[in-house]
C-alpha cells in the first residue's frame, strides 16, 4: 500500500489546475520520530503531498495513459510547520505538458482550527513548490519497469473516486 499524503481532491480543472487537502492527524507514523513529543510534519512529506496532488493533475491531463513520476523538485520553500489538527491545502497549476513530461507550480496553505469551530480559518499560504514530472514510458533509457501503471494504482484510484473524479483506470492494478 502506497502512503497517501492527500485525503481528497477538492478542485480539478482538466489540464489546468488542481487543489487537494490533507488533514494532519496525531496518529501518523512519522510523528513518532519527528519529533518525540512535538509532532511536526516533515517538509519532505509536504513535498510528497504536492507531488501526489500535481502528479494527479499531470496524469489526468494525459488520461492516465502514461506512468507519471516525479523527476525534479525545481523549487520548494516552506515557511511554517504543519501540526496535528491542521489541514494542508495543496494548489497546483500546470505550466507545461508534452509527450516527455510536465512541469507544475504550486502553493501550500494551512488551515488551522481556531477557538470558534463555527468560524473556519482562512487558508494561510506557507510555501510554494514547483515540480517537474517525467512520463516514464517515454523516458525509459533502457531501464526495466513494471508493465502496469504502478503510479496510478489502487490507492490513488480510491482518492480520485472518493473525490468524484472518473479515472478510466482498469481495476486490479497492483501498487
Amino acid at each position: 500500500m502506497r502512503w497517501l499524503w492527500i485525503d481528497r481532491i477538492v478542485h480539478l480543472e482538466a489540464g489546468a489546475k488542481i487543489a487537494a487537502v490533507k488533514n494532519v492527524t496525531s496518529s501518523e507514523d512519522p510523528f513518532g520520530e519527528h519529533f518525540p513529543g512535538q509532532p511536526v510534519m516533515h517538509g519532505s512529506l509536504i513535498i510528497a503531498g504536492m507531488a501526489q496532488t500535481a502528479g494527479i493533475l499531470v496524469g489526468h491531463t494525459g488520461q492516465f495513459a502514461e506512468t507519471v513520476i516525479l523527476a525534479k523538485v525545481s523549487d520548494a520553500t516552506l515557511q511554517a510547520d504543519a501540526r496535528p489538527g491542521d489541514t494542508l491545502l495543496y494548489e497546483a497549476e500546470l505550466k507545461s505538458f508534452d509527450t516527455v513530461g510536465a512541469s507544475t507550480a504550486g502553493t501550500v496553505s494551512l488551515l488551522s482550527p481556531g477557538a470558534d469551530p463555527s468560524q473556519p480559518s482562512e487558508p494561510r499560504r506557507i510555501g510554494s513548490i514547483d515540480l517537474v514530472f517525467s512520463h516514464l514510458d517515454q523516458n525509459r533509457a533502457g531501464a526495466e519497469f513494471p508493465e502496469h501503471n504502478f503510479v496510478f494504482g489502487p490507492s490513488f484510484k480510491m482518492v480520485l473516486e472518493q473525490s468524484g473524479i472518473k479515472t478510466g483506470i482498469e481495476g486490479g492494478i497492483q501498487d
Binding site: S74, T99, S103, V132, Q138, G142
Partner: protein, 129 residues
C-alpha cells in the same frame, strides 16, 4: 529581440533551473560540466525556455535522444564519423569544437554550451518571425 536580451533570458532560465549564480553562466560554459546539469534538468530547461520565449520545442529538437545509444553512431565509447555527422545535422546550433577533437560519448554534453542555447533560441525566434 536583441542578442543581449536573448542571452539575458537564457541566463535567467539556467540560473533558475540549475540553481547557479549569474557569474557561473558564461557563454562557453557547458551545461553538464560547469553548470552541473543532469539529464532531467534538460526537460526543465526546455519547459522554462518555452515559457520565457513563448515558442514550442519539439521532443529531441534541442537535446536529441537515441543518437548516443545507436551502435551505428557509437563504437568503443566514441562517436563514429557517422554519429558525429548525425549529431551535427540535428544540432546546428551546438559547439562541436571540443567534440571534434575528442569524440568520446562522455564529451557529448560539452556541445551544449550557454552560447549554443542562445543560438538555438535566436534561430527559433527568427523562424517564428
Amino acid at each position: 529581440m536583441t542578442h543581449d536580451e536573448v542571452y539575458a533570458k537564457v541566463s535567467e532560465v539556467l540560473m533558475d533551473a540549475l540553481a547557479v549564480d549569474e557569474d557561473e553562466v558564461t557563454p562557453e560554459a557547458p551545461l553538464t560540466g560547469a553548470l552541473g546539469a543532469e539529464s532531467i534538468d534538460f526537460l526543465d530547461i526546455v519547459f522554462k525556455l518555452e515559457q520565457a520565449f513563448g515558442f514550442k520545442i519539439a521532443q529531441g529538437e534541442l537535446f536529441p535522444d537515441n543518437v548516443t545509444q545507436d551502435p551505428e553512431f557509437v563504437q568503443g565509447g566514441k562517436l563514429t564519423p557517422k554519429g558525429l555527422e548525425a549529431l551535427r545535422e540535428r544540432l546546428p546550433h551546438a559547439d562541436f569544437s571540443k567534440l571534434d577533437a575528442d569524440p568520446s560519448v562522455a564529451k557529448v554534453g560539452e556541445i551544449f554550451t550557454v552560447s549554443a542555447l542562445v543560438r538555438f533560441c535566436e534561430s527559433k525566434l527568427q523562424a517564428a518571425g
